[in-house]
């Protein structure tokens, strides 16, 4: 079964616009892939969804709804309490915890909409080279490409 890491933004979308990332999370629920999460990633998702500016814009996004979403997401995933920090990406160190999770679990897919991350496999920087060595199986794809992978397999 493929091991999957999902970028933070996709969880935020899954909470409020699930249709846009439906296939990725459906595959997790159906047990077609193994979703890996770190405690740090879950905390980042929860923090993002419970910010006061989010509540001001979307008052119906209550803490109870967010907690239920976090609990259901966590229940469908394999959770890693601590993840070694082997990689840092100067372009956006905020993404480091996701890459480090992908390295730690030897993920086959990192699903993201972020163009800067999607370009990384063809990047010739030292960081990109290090990531290729630390996570040789990793493919960075967007949700549509991942849905295509699921259709083919």
């Amino acid at each position: 079964m493929s091991i999957l890491v999902v970028y933070t933004m996709l969880f935020l979308q899954a909470a409020v616009q699930p249709v846009r990332v439906h296939r990725s999370f459906q595959a997790v629920r159906e047990g077609l892939v193994t979703l890996c999460l770190s405690v740090e990633l879950l905390a980042e998702v929860r923090d993002g969804l419970t910010r006061s500016k989010v509540r001001e814009k979307f008052p119906a996004l209550t803490p109870a709804a967010v907690d239920a979403f976090i609990i259901e997401t966590a229940a469908s995933a394999t959770i890693f309490e601590s993840v070694p920090s082997l990689f840092t990406w100067p372009v956006d160190p905020g993404d480091d915890h996701l890459f480090n999770l992908a390295i730690h679990v030897q993920a086959e897919y990192l699903v993201t909409w972020e163009t800067r991350m999607l370009k990384l496999p063809s990047d010739i920087s030292q960081s990109a080279d290090l990531l290729r060595r630390l996570a040789p199986k990793l493919r960075i794809v967007n949700p549509e490409q991942f849905a295509q992978v699921l259709r083919v397999s």
Binding site: Q13, R51, G94
Partner: protein
């Protein structure tokens, strides 16, 4: 005046369930700590689990709000990217 007669029929479903030894131990511990019998605690837990609202049910009003906000996908993404940046900036500030 004819007295009002009210018959209440309570239907109770009885089922057999299998538990792992670990779950059974936890259930026994919980029952002991609450001072209740095993079947009452098990029944309460099951009742709570099946009647609890799912995340999809709880998130439905927020999803409707986002859909009716007039924001397009790009604007919603932009908003949440801004939120994520704020989360990360605060995390970075706290770690330095």
């Amino acid at each position: 005046m004819t007295p009002l007669s009210l018959d209440i029929i309570i239907k109770v479903m009885t089922i057999d369930i299998s538990l792992t030894p670990e779950a059974e131990t936890k259930l026994r511990q919980r029952a002991a700590s609450l001072g209740q019998d095993l079947s009452t605690v098990a029944s309460d837990l099951l009742e709570e689990a099946v009647t609890r609202q799912s995340a999809d049910e709880l998130l439905a009003p927020a999803r409707k709000q986002v859909a009716e906000s007039g924001l397009n996908d790009g604007q919603v993404d932009g908003f949440f990217r801004e939120v994520l940046k704020e989360v990360r900036d605060e995390k970075k500030a706290m770690s330095t």
